[in-house]
Amino acid sequence: MSEKIIELQNLSTSFRTERGLLKAIDGVSFDVHKGEILGVVGESGCGKSVTSQTILRLYDEKYTAVYEGKVLLEGEDILQIPYKKMQDIRGRRISMVFQDALSSLNPVFTVGYQIREAIRIHQKVSKKQANKMAIEMLSLVGIPAPERRVKQYPHELSGGMRQRVMIAISLACKPRLLIADEPTTALDVTIQAQIMDLIVQLNQQLDMGVILITHDLGVVAETCSRVVVMYLGQIVEEANVEDIFDNPKHPYTLGLIQSIPRLEGDRNKELYTIKGTVPLLSQIPTGCRFAKRCPYAKERCNTQMPDLIPVSETQKVRCFRYLEGGGIRYA
């Protein structure tokens, strides 16, 4: 196995609200290796983005967020280091691409200025050199005529171009880990495919780890090697990408996969949906968090919380059905 770039151990993030502390993510553990793309999937509000922002400690620690657990970046727990030191880690060792490509660039500066800035925050290079590097980065992310583009303002670029520029900015210092938080949501389908191809290609080229946060299982199947499925702030299943699609264990994962529209088969059949909605954070059920929506729920599920248990060497699942007997294939 290649080296681990980042390892989350039992990570929890709570927010101080008027109703008291609310846990947005609860006991999340996973790791990302060098050269690997890890997919994190789940519905809206399941804690995907909170996880990514916690890794970078982007929340206000004085007033809003409380972290527990460990985030080990190449062995060092970055939740323990002084807050100021995070500035050296952000952008240099861990970078992030945001979902809203259209508003992720500052409208008052040129594209070139913003890439140069990202470079010069972390490296001592001259303006000229930084400009050269900025042009290199732009051609790396596949922007034609980069010498001209560096002088342009964000409003002169299309959405896909802007997301490429964002990727160029986040990769400017050759980070070890790239967190892509739904990088293609604001873009149309053909551009989505281009951006995903770009991320896969750069992942191999630069040999970094990538955490890809998405709710698009199609994207996951195309790009990721491993997948973490989250529900209400917990990991409910973790497996290789093949197992997620061919051999899903958790009823939630199964529900997600069944909800994908298919080209073959009866078109008049109504599309499968998971019943109910995600409960509010303040109304988390006591037992298994998915019990209320689960077609297989039993008495026990409503009172007891299952652990994340390994069912094979690479697959873990949080469900009682695998405690006894193991591997039941749902049909």
């Binding site: 970078l56 982007l58 880690i89 952008g91 970078s95 992030m96 945001f98 500052n106 500066f109 800035e117």
Partner: protein, 302 residues
């Protein structure tokens, strides 16, 4: 052969493209200028302000007589070919005094809006970042705002003593809260934008984010507010001088001419009308210009 032709075509198209781009940019600029010109009122405002600035700069050429020259034999004379706006109680030429007064008024207005603009922006933007200082600064601003601005300026002038410098200082102090509030509220809006979050995520220091990324994005409402501060400080300066709390006696200012005219209002109307007209027109011009700039910078109002 074919590929070579394609390449040639491609290069030709590219140069064509860049010329189209240039045309589009020019058109874009033209559209913005047209949008401004279409708004007749803001054009009138601009013309008035430009004329006032020209008068202030060219005062020595436009004025006919030295504003300090006294001609006691011809005191309180009505407008004539020699004294276009008449003379005051010690025989000074009102026309020249009004012209030179433009200098004082515009200089005071400009300095006040610049000083309070810069300081107000620093305070407002820093307040959006630091919660404790925010409370302290904003409560001070509330306190300053709770006193009528003219009254506060008079108090400050009484403490500082009459001089143009002190007029500027006290008016700037009075106007800082206005600018600080505008800058603070728009900094709060900008702070929530994704590009600011993205700056955090690439490891930029808070000071860099605050001054290089948030500040320029708050500029447009601050600039609009500054034009209104410009206009209101011209009025307040005139009011201060009228009350004798403004520029020192002898310095020609619209307010101080009005002050002299006050005691002769029944038999020397020209001492009141001309400086009053100049004050009203220039304040009107500045306000119209401010409205025009606001419409131009804020596409939502169109």
């Amino acid at each position: 052969m074919d590929t070579k032709n394609n390449l040639d075509n491609f290069l030709e198209n590219r140069s064509e493209l860049s010329s189209i781009r240039k045309k589009l940019q020019k058109e874009q600029r033209q559209i913005r200028i047209n949008a401004f010109l279409k708004n007749k009122l803001s054009v009138i405002g601009l013309v008035i302000v430009v004329i006032m600035i020209l008068i202030a700069i060219l005062a020595p050429m436009i004025a006919t007589i030295n504003p300090a020259d006294m001609d006691v034999a011809n005191r309180l004379k009505p407008p004539s070919t020699k004294h276009w706006f008449g003379t005051d109680d010690i025989g000074r030429d009102v026309y020249s005094r009004v012209i030179y007064g433009t200098r004082v008024s515009l200089f005071v207005g400009f300095s006040v809006s610049l000083i309070s603009g810069v300081l107000g922006m620093i305070i407002g933007i820093y307040s959006s970042y630091n919660k404790i200082l925010d409370n302290i600064f904003m409560r001070i601003c509330d306190g300053l705002k709770s006193i009528t601005s003219t009254l506060l300026a008079i108090c400050l002038m009484a403490v500082l003593g009459a001089s143009i410098k002190n007029v500027i200082i006290s008016l700037a102090l009075v106007n800082i809260p206005n600018i600080a509030r505008v800058a603070r509220s728009s900094a709060f809006v900008v702070r929530e934008q994704t590009y600011i979050e993205a700056m955090h995520a690439i490891g930029a220091k808070p000071s860099r984010i605050l001054w290089i990324h948030i500040a320029p994005n708050t500029l447009s409402p601050v600039i609009v507010q500054m034009t209104f501060v410009f206009a209101s400080s011209i009025i307040t300066e005139a009011a201060l001088s009228f009350l004798g709390a403004g520029v020192p006696a002898g310095v020609p200012s619209w307010g101080s001419i009005l002050n002299i005219g006050r005691s002769h209002i029944y038999n020397a109307w020209w001492l009141i009308i001309y400086p009053g007209l100049f004050t009203a027109i220039s304040v009107l011009g500045l306000n119209l210009l401010g409205d025009g700039i606001r419409d131009l910078l804020d596409p939502l109002t169109n």
